[in-house]
Amino acid sequence: MKKEILKIQNLTKTYTSGLIRAKETIAVKNASFKLYSGEILSLVGESGSGKTTIANLILRFIQPTEGEIFYEGKEIHDIPTKDYYLNVQGIFQDPYSSFNYFYRIDHMLNQVFRYSLKGITNKRKALESALSIVGLNTDDILGRFPHQISGGQLQRVLIARALLFKPKLIIADEPTSMIDSSSRADILNLFKELKEGTTNTEGISIIFISHDIGQAQYISERVLIMKEGSIVEQGLTEEVFLNPDHPYTKNLLACCPSIYRKWELD
């Protein structure tokens, strides 16, 4: 029986704009789902469906309007900030803007050690092992500036940064959308490997947020389909993508371009 790692209950987030005639925008509406240890869950939806808002809520960047998020049975806002981020880490869409271009890449990775030294005695060795997990060569990365390496490599450095914390849960918010298709496959495979874990390390649970249905199908065991802030369908990837229930999912899948079929265009 798999352990429940994250539980989200009736989560709602509304943004209010304006003072006198306040206008409310509902970003996430009454979302509930669970994440089990050692699985990849995909959040799929079109732009504006609230995918990133859910990521930001889980990462505690914003406060929920209603509802609760439990990490290993505890409400996340009751967990001390530092403890929480040692277990839950994020990877974001734009690897280029996550770096300070005045500093070498080492600088960002070394900042991790100021925050946490969980089980780390030799910093250089920790860096080497984290970089080798993501398939990078230490000599190619350390000592370089961010503009000297490619976007795919930068994204992998950011994954290595997250791994230095030895997290149990990674929230990956559109991690591949700014990366070339040739390195995209490597990143997807890397997530699959991280989920499996190795003999020494436990597998990491991943919430994979994407608008790309093909990637979600490739990477995840379970999938959530979101529309305008609500979860319209959730279930095992194969079931949802082969026999969608909800009309929105059916429409979404019918519109998805694929090399395996052609649309009937008039």
Binding site: E46, S47, S150, G152, Q153, D180, S181, S182, S183, R184, A185, D186, I187, L188, N189, H211, D212, I213, G214, Q215, Q217, Y218, I219, T237, E238, F241, L242, N251, L252, L253, C255, C256, P257, S258, I259, Y260, R261, K262, W263, L265, D266
Partner: protein
């Protein structure tokens, strides 16, 4: 009888600046036949957009035309005056929708005023009977699936797909028979993407455009609309084939590896095959390698690939032009 509408001969375009010389398009030859919908695919930085800029004959400032010719309906784009291209060819013979052009709509002007502006720029004078002209434009927009009320809106009131339709509508006002689309669907949701692609086929069906050059990095999207496709790598074309052959029967090692790296939705079940990325990164186009540009990343490279750039060989089995030494003997 096929008729060539665009013919490109050994086209070269380099970016020159304080950063050095970037060989963005370096010897591209291509011909597009009337009625084709041709896809141009490749990784970012392979020269797709630069090629489109060069075809329209008015490269942006840093980009310089270094050699080769582009013939549009037998008229040489680099042999005539810029004014002629501007007045006679762009929009009238060839429409060009640049990348992210939906963002070029003026935010403080209503769409109708923006259109009048664009028309004045094209025709030279303001149209005398505004209402009549705008009614004609509205008729045209209807064919693209836009309501007349769009004309009285500001750009921020429109959705991304509608904005894209507006700019496509403006570039097809004069019925250009050739339409060049640079990443028209990349910032849009899948449902909007499909509607837009339906619009393109509709435009072709009713005869507003005949030939489409569709630039995109998204091969599944290209597969829906294109009948032929060229694959570019590091400023050069590596393979020209029909869309079906590119997908089911790729010849060039790069095309093969590219097809293996795409995570594509499979409606018949989960994608069981493991994806494989392409190791390494594309070459720095400031100093491109002497031999085959894919040599450092290629898994089936030969000794001679390092020194000599391969010409196009025709693979005997498929009769597809492929720029790869592996097909040398087959072609003889």
């Amino acid at each position: 009888m096929t008729e060539e509408v665009i013919k490109i001969e050994d086209l070269k375009g380099y970016y020159r600046g304080s950063f050095g010389i970037v060989h963005a398009v370096d010897g591209v030859s291509l011909s597009v036949n009337k009625g084709d919908i041709m896809g141009i695919a490749g990784e970012s930085g392979c020269g797709k957009t630069t090629l489109a800029e060069l075809i329209t004959g008015r490269p942006i400032k840093l980009l310089q035309h270094e050699g080769g010719q582009v013939y549009v309906n037998d008229l040489s784009m680099y042999g005539v005056d810029e004014e002629v291209i501007r007045k006679e060819i762009l929009c009238k013979v060839m429409g060009y929708v640049p990348q992210a052009s939906q963002n070029s709509l003026n935010p403080v002007k209503k769409i109708r005023n923006f259109i009048l502006d664009a028309m004045r720029e094209r025709v030279g004078t303001k149209p005398k009977n505004k209402e009549k002209v705008l009614n004609q434009v509205a008729e045209h927009f209807k064919k693209l699936g836009l309501e007349k009320s769009v004309m009285d809106k500001y750009p921020h009131e429109l959705s991304g797909g509608m904005k894209q339709r507006v700019v496509i509508g403006i570039s097809t006002l004069w019925n250009p028979l050739i339409l060049i689309l640079d990443e028209p669907t990349s910032a849009l949701d899948v449902t909007t993407q499909q509607l837009l692609i339906e619009t393109f086929t509709h435009l072709k069906k009713i005869g507003i455009v005949e030939t489409i050059l569709f630039i995109s990095h998204d091969i599944p999207v290209l597969a829906q609309i294109c009948n032929t496709c060229v694959i570019m790598y590091a400023g050069r074309i590596v393979e020209k084939a029909s869309m079906d052959d590119i997908i089911n029967n790729p010849q060039h090692p790069y095309t093969k590896m590219l097809m293996c790296s795409i995570a594509c939705f499979n409606p018949d079940g989960s994608a069981e095959t493991k994806l494989e990325g392409i190791p390494g990164i594309p070459p720095d186009l400031k100093s491109p390698p002497k031999g085959c540009r894919f040599y450092p990343r290629c898994s089936s490279r030969l000794e001679k690939c390092k020194e000599n750039y391969p010409p196009f060989f025709i693979s005997r089995t498929e009769s597809i032009p492929v720029a790869c030494w592996l097909y040398e003997e087959v072609g003889d």
